[in-house]
Symmetry: C2
Subunit: 331 residues, 2 copies
Amino acid sequence: MSRTYDVLAIGNAIVDVIARCEEDFLHRQQIVKGAMNLIDEDRAESIYGAMGPATVISGGSAANTAVAAASFGARSAFIGKVKADPVGDLFAHDIVASGVAFGTTPATEGKATARSFILVTPDGERSMNTFLGACQDLTEADIDPATVEAATVTYLEGYLWDPPAAKIAFRKAAEIAHAAGREVAITLSDSFCVDRYRAEFRQLIVSGTVDLVFANEHELKALYETADFDTALAALRHEAKRAAVTRSEKGSVIIEGATTVEAPAFPIEKLEDATGAGDAYAAGFLFGYTTGLGYDKAGRLGSLAASHVIQKIGARPAQSLKELAQQNGLI
Amino acid sequence: MSRTYDVLAIGNAIVDVIARCEEDFLHRQQIVKGAMNLIDEDRAESIYGAMGPATVISGGSAANTAVAAASFGARSAFIGKVKADPVGDLFAHDIVASGVAFGTTPATEGKATARSFILVTPDGERSMNTFLGACQDLTEADIDPATVEAATVTYLEGYLWDPPAAKIAFRKAAEIAHAAGREVAITLSDSFCVDRYRAEFRQLIVSGTVDLVFANEHELKALYETADFDTALAALRHEAKRAAVTRSEKGSVIIEGATTVEAPAFPIEKLEDATGAGDAYAAGFLFGYTTGLGYDKAGRLGSLAASHVIQKIGARPAQSLKELAQQNGLI
């Protein structure tokens, strides 16, 4: 193969339509705050009609991670399904313009490119309403073996369990990666996503289908159905090869067997839009991990990226994360 | 008529596609810095292909003014032409969601909705590359007499001279407004636009087709072909009924006959994206002017709105300008 990637991300290819709203808008629209709510086309139209003026920025959890990893200087690739429509063109333009290799063939039939209508409340929290559209058409045929074999880590989002065919693609990618001596990572994505697929996620971890687990505190507690963080962390330590657990302003905890590394959070001036905090953390961590910087630096790089993206609108970086890491003495 | 508007804005209906770039990108692409460059569809594709990841936000000069005026609490309407396509839907959604009355029938045939590819250099300056598309289809048939008659001020952008049929629509709107005892305002839009249409713009002013002129320092000097600001201002004072001239960090000068009012600029922390500074100034001024607050307050409201929009990405306000004006003791 002509190129080796540090990170290959596989996920839902989504364009974000972001608007500010007051708390009562969420109540009136029956939107679960802070969650990723799955919606159909009719509901998408109804929410869009009711929401305020919007900013449109390419998103998608794993895609955000691929872009932020590239911004750190990682060699980065993405697999995900758009339709050949104007929104799909936007997604493809942005990910390629961000320096990420992206060659998934767009669907020419079927549903439109996925959109997530993201409502940002005055506290900076984001509530997502996602119409999966063309993401439903990601199948194992889209998993190019040469790309997976060329990647140090193949990173998969838990949200892939929502479009039914994608989980088969997920398992195929994991098999190819392991057969080539590569590693597989997963993010648990969202505590409601964990509620939907708890048994399957635990099976992926216990069976060693994934080598590295990303989760936030809420997702971890949901996975082990406990309100106690330490209990959940102990369970994860027992079941997972290694994991990075984010705790908002408390930073992150990286565990591997008996090893525990705690990395602090970066201070922020103002939480503008929480969209993409976890995606950015994973990018910084994966950049540090795949380039051999160790868990402490990897965790700090993750925290730095997260602190950057939540101080602006949209989940993708607005400046070079490589320069930001250099300015902060991390690389 | 059932409703009276403070401001009716008529202009090109454009969606902005905004990306950051380095200075040398402008040189390589032969883009005139700080200007509005008119481009065709091929060039649009070529610039989009070369530019970085983008943020998509509704724009259009007069449309931005209508939205910002509404944000101050003005009763605001807009006339402009989109096509019935996804980009046109975005434009229509955003302007209506911003509280602006908008009823122009979208074109069902012809060119796509207008897009402006805006490159923001590290100094915060923006260089626009505009594909006019469906704006070419704005004709006098789109000027609804009842809407014009219902508006205290009909505000027209100089850019309307670029799509050939629109200048006829412009003149029709001015005639209807004056016949109803209303006023007409124009913004000169851009110094290159002034170079293209100098004789016609001066004729509009001298003939009294417009009652109020908005210009920045560069546009004013271009209008009277002089490098000396005071010479240009004296000429404008002689020819125009009244005018508001913006001077960036020096604030603005409002003139009417022998009267001169100078309004200071608001300090800014960081110039993020200069897009829409003039549009926002016009909105604040028109809100103050149409609600009888006097030239000093009108000028300060204009400066306040401009300082807000240039400290963020995109030309439209990110918070209530009414609240911002209240916080600053202006209303």
